[in-house]
Amino acid sequence: MALAFFIAMIVLLTELMLWFGYSQIASLAYIVYLNIFKKEDLVNQRKIKRAILTVRQELARTSPQDEFANWARLKRKLDKKVNELERITASFGYLKTSFEVKFTSFLWVASNGIQIILMLYFLSTPVFYLPQGWFSPVTWIFSMPFAPSGSVSVCFWFLACRKMAKKVMVTYKDSGTYFIQHSL
């Protein structure tokens, strides 16, 4: 029974992830990743943004007609900082896209991979035994592909759990909207 439970949990987890959306998870993971590995770059970006605001204010206070030299120097400083900010933002954008692609593919491989590995490992192990005669004459389907007859195979159990999980998700979603509709 432990096996059955274990498989059910895995399927539930996978379905939850799928329902939540790979991209959502990837975005969250990206935020975590940024804060752990790229903290200084983030801090730097924020600093530059603040600096740009101050320089911009000062520039607005300087009259170009009366103090052209100062005004021009401030403008040069501002342009330089704006260019740097653009560069950093672009690099972040690139990083985000590449990270999300990698993470999403990792998730997909992991979830499907685990399922396949489990199925292969427990190819001929029965999950549990069906009571005799409940589903005859088609009991042989449940034991596909290699489990001893009269039992439920891992593959089939996976299938069953997945279908169950999907139905639960759908019901949950529908009930949520139902409540919202009827409470308003």
Binding site: F68, A72, R73, K75
Partner: protein
């Protein structure tokens, strides 16, 4: 301003274009600035001075307004012509519209047909076609290297900078085309066979590759401060100053060297003058001149006066050009007889 120049000369850079004359390795000189500031006068004067210390000088103008012909009082064409009164100064005026017309006529003869007519409409509509034509000329010069120094009198439209960035853009475009040609070459050949165009593929791409090599060479030369420099001409007024600053910043992004600013049309009124306009204008010019000295500390700032006559003809240009190398000193009016 010029009276106390002896002290300030130690702090500021020498206020003449002597540095340009001295730098023998210079091959390309651009003279640019927004309209009406005296670009043509400056470029012609500089050409005159350079002709004294160089083997051969070529002055090119892409301005369709034929200003070189006006300045020297002599008709110039798109072939380099010797300027009257000089042995080594040549001038050339590139007329973009006629160059394109020629190009199209040529291609029609070779069998362009329908394509030719379409190209004609397109070609005239493209802004910056002056620059492209001038650039073709530049490329020719790079190949032959006939003249020791080439001065560009740029057009006032402000497309100069696009022209200078042209090499970079073209290089990238050609690189892409070369890449694509490798892949789509055979397809293109089939298609052109179907449409009846006589497109000799190897020839075309061979020419493109050759062009690309020259463009890279031009690009490198323009970015080398030993070989190329840009002289900004402006007047001492707010808008001109603003444009000059913008131009200098853009030049810096293209890595084109610039370290000379010619401030033109300066007024030096007598102290006891009763011309209100002159005095007010002089004051305004001094105000902006101070700002220029403040901002452009590592530039040579050359002050040129507003003369009481137009500068047309070789003699006037020669006189004016002396002031580029010997700083102008306004006459001491107090010592002159008031007659």
């Amino acid at each position: 301003m010029s009276q106390d120049s002896s002290d300030e000369e130690f702090e500021k850079f020498e206020p003449t274009l002597q540095n340009v004359l001295d730098q023998k390795s210079l091959h390309w000189i651009f003279v640019g600035g927004k309209g009406g500031v005296g670009k043509t006068t400056t470029s012609c004067s500089l050409a005159v001075q350079l002709s004294k210390v160089r083997e051969s000088v070529l002055l090119i103008s892409t301005d369709p307004a034929h200003n070189l012909s006006d300045a020297f009082g002599q008709k110039f064409s798109k072939e380099a012509t010797l300027v009257d009164g000089f042995t080594n100064l040549y001038a050339m005026e590139i007329d973009p519209t006629s160059s394109i017309q020629e190009m199209l006529d040529q291609s029609e003869q070779q069998g362009g047909g329908a394509m030719g007519a379409m190209m004609q409409d397109l070609a005239f509509a493209i802004p910056g076609v002056d620059e492209a034509m001038g650039f073709a000329e530049v490329m020719k010069q790079v190949k032959t290297m006939e003249y020791s120094v080439i001065i560009f009198d740029t057009a006032p439209t402000g497309h100069t900078l696009r022209f200078l960035s042209f090499p970079g853009v073209l290089e990238k475009a050609l690189a892409k085309i070369s890449q694509l040609s490798g892949r789509f070459g055979p397809v293109f050949q089939q298609m052109s066979g179907m449409m009846g165009l006589n497109a000799n593929q190897e020839d075309m791409f061979g020419k493109l590759e050759g062009m690309r090599a020259i463009i890279t060479e031009v690009n490198n030369q323009f970015k080398d401060p030993e070989k190329t420099t840009f002289i900004c001409v402006c007047i001492s007024e707010f808008l001109s100053l603003y444009e000059t600053e913008r131009m200098i910043q853009e030049l810096t992004t293209y890595h084109i060297d610039t370290h000379n600013i010619v401030v033109n049309q300066l007024l030096f009124p007598r102290k006891d003058s009763n011309c209100e306009q002159c005095l007010v204008r002089h004051k305004m010019q001094q105000k902006y001149l101070d700002q220029i000295y403040n901002l452009y500390e590592d530039f040579h700032i050359i002050l040129m006066p507003l003369l009481t006559k137009e500068i047309r003809g070789t003699q006037d240009i020669k006189e004016f050009s002396e002031m580029l190398v010997k700083p102008f000193v306004p006459p001491d009016y107090s010592m002159m007889d008031d007659s």
